[in-house]
């Protein structure tokens, strides 16, 4: 019976037969991702490159080639140079703060305590909350009239109403405020990265160090941190790229003020290219990020590869 049943050929459709081939199926499965990258990243990127070297404005959508003159215009503007400087301070300031908070957060969350699982789950909230909502909440905390931070400091007697810091009105404090908000957003990600790295360090290495008399700081900064550096560097690459290109915090919280002190490249590119309709100069401002990010990413990836070897 079995032999008879096996001898009857099944009615396979040609389509079914093609899908049985792993190479075809693999190509089909990967195609949406490639299509997504090509259409939503590749094409806009190439368009932005061409826009930045054209005379394109919304008033006159001309594709005439103007070479690098838009970049020259942009660099000659002192306001742009201030924006570029702000972008570096914002990016690296918030990454350093985020990493420090992430490291300490991870060390705390490694220790057993009641409700640790709940805390581990809830710590991810700053990263998961929509940025618009979170920024509005922070804006109120930094508000000149209703700041809860100032209210607390006044209640504790550290400051008076007369000398309360004007968080978003003082250029230095405004920069510090947007750095704090971005670090607050980034640190749960840093915690996850550090936790993943630290738990991957073999216990026998730590035990051996303990037997050799290594204390908390030596174990952390001479054994654990060097071992997890590649994974931390990957996290840092993500953080730098996302922060360098971010405009949401500045757009929602300061609009680049006071007096241009928090204007960053993403915001300036948006204001010039979209709000004011000068697409070519807006693209030139935005593409200024490209060589910087490229250098940072290549340097970090080379560093990671060397560490792995």
């Amino acid at each position: 019976m079995v032999a008879i049943a096996d001898s009857v050929p099944k009615a396979h459709s040609r389509f079914h037969f093609i899908l049985d081939r792993r190479d075809v199926l693999g190509s089909l499965m990967v195609a949406p991702a490639i299509l997504y990258v090509l259409l939503l990243v590749g094409v806009p990127f190439l368009m932005a490159v061409y826009y930045s070297m054209s005379a394109y404005t919304i008033y006159n959508p001309s594709w005439s080639f103007v070479g690098l003159s838009n970049f020259v215009d942009v660099v000659e503007n002192p306001a742009f140079r201030q924006t570029l400087y702000n972008t570096f301070i914002f990016t690296f300031g918030s990454q350093i703060l985020g990493l420090v908070l992430g490291k300490f957060g991870a060390l705390l969350l490694l220790r057993p305590f009641p409700g640790r699982k709940f805390v581990r789950a809830i710590i991810i909230l700053p990263w998961a909350v929509p940025i618009a909502l979170a920024t509005v909440a922070w804006q109120w905390m930094f508000d000149s009239l209703y700041s809860v931070i100032n209210w607390t400091l006044i209640a504790l007697g550290f400051i008076t109403r007369a000398n309360a810091p004007n968080w978003l009105g003082n250029p230095d404090l405004a920069m510090l405020s947007i750095i704090v908000v971005n670090a607050w957003r980034f640190f749960p990600f840093a915690i996850v990265i550090f936790l993943a790295g630290i738990t991957a360090v073999p216990q026998d290495v730590i035990d051996a160090a303990t037997v050799d008399g290594a204390g908390f700081w030596r174990k952390n900064y001479q054994i654990i941190v060097p071992m997890i550096l590649p994974i931390v560097a990957i996290g840092l690459v993500f953080g730098i790229v996302f922060t360098f290109t971010d405009l949401s915090i500045v757009f929602l919280m300061t609009n680049g003020g006071p007096v241009g002190a928090t204007s960053v490249l993403g915001f300036a590119g948006f204001q010039t290219g979209i709000t004011s309709g000068d697409v070519s100069h807006g693209a030139a401002i935005s593409l200024f990020m490209l060589p910087v990010l490229l250098v940072v990413v290549i340097f970090m990836l080379r560093f990671i590869r060397r560490r792995e070897i």
Binding site: D23, I58, D143, L145, Y146, N166, W167, G169, T254, S276
Partner: protein
Amino acid sequence: MAKKTGFSSVTRRRFLKETGLAAAAAGAAPLLTAPFVSKALAADKSLSIVQWAHFVPEYDTWFDKFAKDWGEKNKISVTVDHIPVQNIPARAAAEASAGSGHDLFGFNGAGGAHLYRKFFLNVADLVNETEKKYGKVTTIGKQLGYNADDGSWSAFPDFYINFPGMYRKSEWGEIGMLPDTWDNLRIGGAKLKAKGHPVGISLGHSNDPSTTWRGLLWSYGGAVQDEAGKKIVLNSKETVEATKYAAALYKEAMTSDVLSWNDSSNNQYLVSGVASYIINPISAYRTFQKSNKAGADDTFVIAPPKGPAKQIMGAASEFYGIWKFAKNKEAAKEFLRYYAANWPEAFKASEGYNNPCFAGLVPKPMPILANDPTSTPHDKFAILQDSDKWSAIPGYPGPATPAMDEVYYAFIINDMMAKAATGQLSAEESVKWATQQCETIMKKWAGKA
């Protein structure tokens, strides 16, 4: 022997070839279906409108019903989308670039009609017809939509929002002064600041200070550009004097809070009972009325302060543009005709916030402004009936151009005043810095618009 799988023989060339084919097939799908989709849409008689979410929510409720009722009468399906005001430029750019979107675009801002001139239908016939019926278009209306080079109209002017002064009568009465001139505002403001009630005019990056400080500049006889809109004339003795005044006002009559403010901050300052004076549309007063009736009753509306040269204040504005790619251009024009015919209703629905761009569109005495039963006294807003005499939009005394819009959106005038106020630069240096910024923008747009 194990069978060789397809994956082991994947080469870079083969991978690119196969994924490329898959990508091309997926990408072609919309092209194949597009003719059928567009035919289906064309058969549908509809009108789509997009505009800002109004500061007075009741206006949006009124407008949506008004548009729907018109659609039902004319058997046209009308949809109205309200989007946040700050999203308007990005939305317009997206629709123009895609060559597709809403039929009627309600644009909040000054130079948009000129920036999108090539994308908007010439509505000169509609404007002329409205002028014949309801009186001459105002200066702001002309600044908004008229193109002097060929006499075309890129937009149908809808309304402007005036920026009067609002002061606490009891506080100003105590010092026996009235904030009717910029000098009185500074002197009286300093006295009231000492009593804990400073003046509140933002020096931050938002629309209110962009509008207010332009008013100060113009009232001192300064301007960003000339009447023809060809040349930057900011670097003048008048501008330096206006900037010096702003620095003095900041130091004597305001606090550093104003450096961080957004558009709602001065409203909150008034409602909190701290401010003795602000410059803002009447929405600030309406908010005060809802939270503290006694405080609102003590708050009076006054024309903007007089300067050495004139009495003038910046204004915000709104217009409608019909995209050339709109599916239902005639319906859009017909709707605007009907809207103009019912404009007094729109005025009432906005609680006197939207001011007309045609002289006789809302005959005087104007509803609400001449007699507002919710206010004490009822004629508190009466002076606003003539606000067209002291209101102007960015670009004044010239046209509202894309270059003037960029100067506005880059907050250059705000920063010129703030740099001098905070002592970052002297008034002269600050004006030079702002002039250089404006000239760079003007040069960039020369020949392009």
